[in-house]
């Protein structure tokens, strides 16, 4: 069939592909419609669980406020999940990607106008069990973030030395996770996000 019968022939040959495309397109669209809300609900619940841990029982969340911020030169989208108690926003859960021993994602919790740190939770991580995952497991390390001043830099000091003001001690043996991963990410994200979130709120209300 070397003779050219024009492009219609090709479509003719491809009728199968085309009908399949149509069929599957439609089908998937259907699936999408059914599942989308559930999936988003799942994500919200997932976040909510962590917010509850930080802000206490009864906390819920809603659609995230997405803010565009530039962090060391690169434009990023950051999700700010509102922490709601009986409908009223009492704080933020800011979902931020960072680099520890491996890439990790934190949920940084602050009060409603991003002045005071309430704590953090690890959302996604690949840190080494036994070393890096102390940033999830060591309560003493995790808890020390509550109440720190979110407006100022956190200062990392080696484990064992006593901390004052905005200092936090980092886990020896897991410097990368604790210092670079947690402290570093918080210091990197908050300054950029704070104004953005506030701005978003202003025009929101």
């Amino acid at each position: 069939m070397s003779d050219k019968k024009g492009f219609l022939t090709y479509l003719g040959q491809a009728w199968l592909v085309l009908t399949l495309s149509i069929a599957f397109g439609a089908a998937l669209a259907g699936v999408e419609k059914v599942t989308r809300p559930r999936i988003q609900q799942n994500i919200k619940d997932f976040i909510a669980v962590r917010l509850v841990e930080v802000f206490g029982a009864g906390t819920t969340t809603a659609e995230p406020t997405v803010v565009k911020v530039t962090i060391n030169g690169r434009e990023r989208k950051v999700n700010g999940y509102p922490a709601l108690r009986d409908g009223k926003r009492i704080g933020w859960g800011i979902e931020a990607e960072g680099m520890g021993y491996d890439t990790l994602t934190l949920l940084i919790c602050t009060d409603e106008d991003v002045n005071v740190l309430k704590g953090y939770r690890v959302v996604i991580d690949a840190e080494t069990p036994g070393i890096g995952d102390k940033i999830k497991k060591r309560k003493s390390f995790v808890d020390q973030f509550a109440g720190k001043d979110a407006a100022a830099e956190l200062v990392a000091v080696p484990e064992g030395s006593k901390t004052t003001g905005n200092e936090v001690w980092t886990i020896t043996g897991a410097t990368y996770s604790s210092k670079k991963g947690v402290v570093g990410t918080i210091n990197e994200v908050l300054p950029a996000v704070r104004p953005a979130l506030r701005a978003a709120m202003k025009e929101g209300s």
């Binding site: 069939m1 070397s2 050219k4 492009f7 022939t9 090709y10 479509l11 040959q13 491809a14 592909v17 085309l18 399949l20 495309s21 149509i22 599957f24 397109g25 439609a26 998937l28 669209a29 259907g30 999408e32 419609k33």
Partner: protein, 300 residues
């Protein structure tokens, strides 16, 4: 809802059309006809890639046949069946050939081979063949089994230091013949279940042979006298397989041979027999018995 579906369909369709067009067009415009024949040929090959055909692999051979450079019956593994299949794919008529099968021209196991020295070198025939005095006979089987190693159909077994071929497993690929550094394995046309072979390769004078082997051919010439198939040239009997007649009665010769050098070997598979039913025979391949590599120059 509808909007989403519509959009989805739209996108899919768009892409579908693009690729349908592109591929369809390309399929015509950039057509390279991989010839059907070639594909069939490649499929027809056993795919053992043993190289017995003398090509790197089945595919190579298939291409060679396709280009008309190779005869259709080169594949010993596939044998007659494949040969016929190939031939009809190529639409040529195939003059059936005999199944060539290896025979070991040595009948002396460890007990029959005299003057065997203790040898502590690399234990392969190829290596031992380069060292003088591993055993008295410099023509016969060394017994380290290079052929066994070479045969990928494990059709060669070493029996008390002598290579013995299992003709049920053997596919006639000839690897063993190539592997033997003493060239005592030759591929001969099997026209019968079992054929007579001269199980010796020694061209030495009878006296010498006697001193190193209890079964070797001493070139006495009795067989020559009794049966015209046999000829004795430099102290070694050989059989002319061109006129070999399966039905002929070799009992007298075998009985008369003073050294039991003449023996029956073989039993090719039914397939082979079918393939060879009533064919007249092509030239037989002459094995050239070398005692050692002649290009190893003397030093020290």
């Amino acid at each position: 809802m509808l909007l989403t579906i519509g959009l989805a369909i739209l996108v899919m369709l768009a892409l579908g059309v693009c690729f349908a067009m592109l591929l369809g067009w390309a399929n015509v415009a950039w057509k390279v006809d991989v010839p059907l024949q070639l594909r069939q040929l490649t499929d027809a090959m056993p795919g053992a890639n043993c190289g017995g055909c003398g090509y790197i692999g089945c595919a190579e051979y298939a291409e060679a046949v396709f280009r008309g450079e190779a005869p259709p019956d080169k594949c010993p593994v596939g044998g007659a069946a494949v040969a016929r299949h190939v031939a009809e794919i190529m639409g040529i008529d195939l003059q059936e050939t005999l199944p060539y099968r290896p025979v070991v021209h040595c009948g002396a196991d460890y007990d029959c081979r005299l003057k065997r020295a203790e040898y502590t070198g690399e234990r392969t025939c190829g290596a031992a063949n380069l060292v003088a005095g591993v055993q008295g006979c410099t023509y016969g089987c060394l017994g380290f089994g290079d052929c066994e190693w070479a045969c990928q159909f494990d059709a060669v077994k070493m029996v008390n230091g002598l290579a013995v071929i299992d003709y049920d497993k053997c596919t006639g690929c000839g690897a063993c013949a190539k592997a033997c550094p003493r060239h005592i394995i030759s591929m001969v046309p099997f026209k019968a279940e079992r054929i007579v072979v001269v199980a010796c390769s020694s061209k030495d004078p009878g006296k010498v042979v006697r001193s190193v082997c209890t079964v070797g051919c001493i070139g006495c010439g009795i067989c020559q006298k009794l049966n015209e198939l046999f000829t004795v040239t430099d102290n070694l009997a050989s059989i002319n397989y061109d006129h070999y007649d399966a039905q002929a009665d070799f009992a007298p010769v075998l009985a008369k041979c003073p050294r039991q050098t003449l023996i029956y070997v073989g039993k090719p598979s039914a397939k082979d027999l079918a393939a060879v039913a009533g064919e007249e025979l092509p030239e037989r391949v002459e094995a050239d018995f070398k005692t050692t590599v002649d290009d190893a120059d003397y030093r020290g």
